[in-house]
Amino acid sequence: MKLLSSIKLRLNMRKINFGIIQFPGSNCEEDCFNVIKNILKQNCTYIWHDSNTFTNIDCIIVPGGFSYGDYLRTGAIAAQSKISYKIKDFANRGGVVIGICNGFQILTELKLLPGILLRNQSLNFICKDVLIKIEDNTTRFTNLYEHGQIIRIPIAHAEGNLYLSKEEIDSIKTNNQIMFTYCNRDGKPTVESNPNGSILNIAGLSNKEGNVLGLMPHPERASDTVLGNTDGKKLFESIINYIN
C-alpha cells in the first residue's frame, strides 16, 4: 500500500502550491523552500507577514526562527500580524497548515492549536537529533509513514516544553491529536528521551479537525540526502499525497 502511494506520488500528481510565511526574525524559510521547490519539485512562494492576502495556496508553512525576537512570549507578536488572521481564516476553512518550531509557537498563540510552549525544563537551548514516534499514520501529515515508525529528526529550540491544561490534555487524547512523541530506540516515551520536558513527551500535535499541525522538530532539516538524513521528507510528501 505504502509502495503504491509512493509510486503514485511520483507519477500521477499535480504540483501542490505551498506558501511559506516570512516574519521578521524567521530563519528556516529557505530550508523549507529548498525542500519543497528543489527536492520535491512543487510550487512554492514566500508570503510576507504584512500581506493582506494569499491566493491559490494548498498548504501554508509557518517556519522556524525567532519572530519579533521572541519578545513578550514566543510567537505572541507574530500571531498579531495581518497575515496571521488570514492563516486563521484559511485553517478554519479547512486549509492545511503546518507550523515548525517557532511556527508551532505562533499557531498556539493564534489558538489554532492547544497549549503553549514554555522554556525547556533544563533551561538550555537544545540543538540535537532526537527520535520521535509516529503516533498516527492516517493523517494529512503522516500517511506515508508506518504506524509506530521511529524517525530521527533534529530539534533546535529553547522553548519547546509543551504545556497543556488538564482539560486540553483530556481533549487531545479524546480526539487523537497527538501526532509525534519523543521516544527511545524501542519507541517508549521515556523521561530520558524527552529533551525539553514536554507534557506526555509530545513533539507534535494537530488540531481537532486534523488540518493544522505543529511540531518542534525540524523535518525540513532532514529531507535532503546531502545532509545525511531524509526521515523528515515523508512528512511533506504525505501532505502532497493527501492534497492530491
Partner: protein, 86 residues
C-alpha cells in the same frame, strides 16, 4: 476623552514552573548572605490609553490582555489604571 496611565503586572500562575524564579532561588540559596526564597519572576507593562471613562478604559485593557498581552493558560495579571496628570 481622558488620558489614562495603565500598568499591567503579569506573573506565572502558581501552578506553573517558573524557570527564571528557580534560577534566582538557586543563586540565593548558594549564598549565605541572602535569606530570600520563593522567587517568582514576572513582567510589567505600562502604556497610556485615551478613553471616555475609567470603566471603558478597564474594558479595553482587559480585551488587550486577553487577546495579546497575557496567555491565561500559564499567566495571571493585575491591572492598575490612573488618570494621567495634565
Amino acid at each position: 476623552m481622558k488620558n489614562f496611565n495603565v500598568t499591567i503586572e503579569i506573573m506565572p500562575l502558581d501552578s506553573v514552573l517558573d524557570p527564571q524564579g528557580e534560577a534566582l532561588e538557586l543563586v540565593a540559596k548558594r549564598s549565605k548572605t541572602y535569606k530570600a526564597k520563593d522567587f517568582r519572576v514576572g513582567k510589567k507593562i505600562v502604556f497610556s490609553l485615551l478613553s471616555k471613562n475609567k470603566a471603558d478604559c478597564t474594558s479595553s485593557v482587559r480585551k488587550l490582555c486577553k487577546d495579546f498581552l497575557v496567555n491565561e493558560i500559564v499567566e495571571q495579571y493585575k491591572i492598575k489604571i490612573e488618570h494621567a496628570k495634565d
